[in-house]
Symmetry: C2
DNA sequence: TCGAATTCCGACTGAATCTGTCGGGATTAC
DNA sequence: GTAATCCCGACAGATTCAGTCGGAATTCGA
């Protein structure tokens, strides 16, 4: 039972974007270097985050990615759903299609076992419900003057 | 983010053993048939459960498996740890080696991100801590007379 | 207008894990 | 002795992981 690196890398990417929120788009190369992650792999991840409207992209030179809204308004459960798929310890206990009660419990012990998966799922969901990206972005850099960057960035 | 069928099948197996607790060993073939699961696959799972001393085996004819102790004394977290490995949403957040604080947080965003994985891990752990196998074994069959079985089992 | 920087996108791949299957050996009750 | 059962290791197809690669499309700035 574990998340994959998709989840880890993707969250780290989002945290970086959270720190830079308000400074315009950041290129993937920049973030990949700072987090020491393979840029082509991050590309895959950020595309799904974009499709989910969690980040927006700007093409062309000086383009990049930025959060689609402030970190406080980005629930971590949404981030993880995009990266890792629905929070479902077992197929019978999906969180997204919670309304669609499929009667997959035809065998004897299954129904009672579902109780376990649902408890686990709910535990994760409620934990994540209370968290936004802002909780993971402690050192928020205030909108920076591009002048002060120039000297310390590329020596 | 999901458990594998190891977890599902294994738990279903344990529930079956819970229902039969007190009736002597049950053969795998019996349980596999009742739960409609591949017996050779269950063999693999039950061996690790045996190695973890959650079930005991009796070899030879009329042998089989049974719980090593009553369902009330079998915490579900122990069952899932055996079947699925340590409860760790990410490598940096293992539950078993919680004492060994490895300083894997050398990069910038990692430390803050660990906070997330640890919260998730703790949510699962505390949920599971309160559950034993007895919670999943509602219809407990009292020790059965082998005579009544004989006619209804193999017609 | 050209070139550099960037996103966009699909295809490919080696390794690992999942989900089993198979075949036989060891042990025990009858 | 024989049938039932556990024990155990090897194998294998499918899927996912964790990337890599190459190039097309877009945009900014000189």
């Amino acid at each position: 039972m574990s998340f994959s690196t998709k989840g880890e890398y993707g969250v780290r990417l989002m945290v970086q974007l959270g720190r830079r929120y308000g400074s315009g788009p950041s290129s993937l190369a920049e973030i990949a270097a700072e987090e020491d992650l393979p840029r082509p792999y991050l590309e895959q991840l950020v595309m799904s985050l974009r499709d989910a409207d969690l980040v927006t992209s700007t093409r062309g030179s000086h383009g990049g990615y930025e959060l689609s809204r402030p970190p406080e308004q980005i629930p971590m459960i949404a981030v993880l759903r995009v990266l890792e798929g629905p929070i479902a310890p077992m197929i019978c206990a999906t969180d997204e299609s919670a309304a669609a009660h499929e009667p997959t419990c035809d065998r004897t012990a299954r129904c009672t076992v579902n109780f376990l998966w649902i408890r686990i799922r709910d535990a994760i969901s409620t934990t994540l419900d209370g968290m936004t990206l802002a909780d993971l972005v402690p050192e928020r850099v205030p909108p920076i003057q591009p002048i002060s960057l120039q000297e310390s960035r590329h020596p």
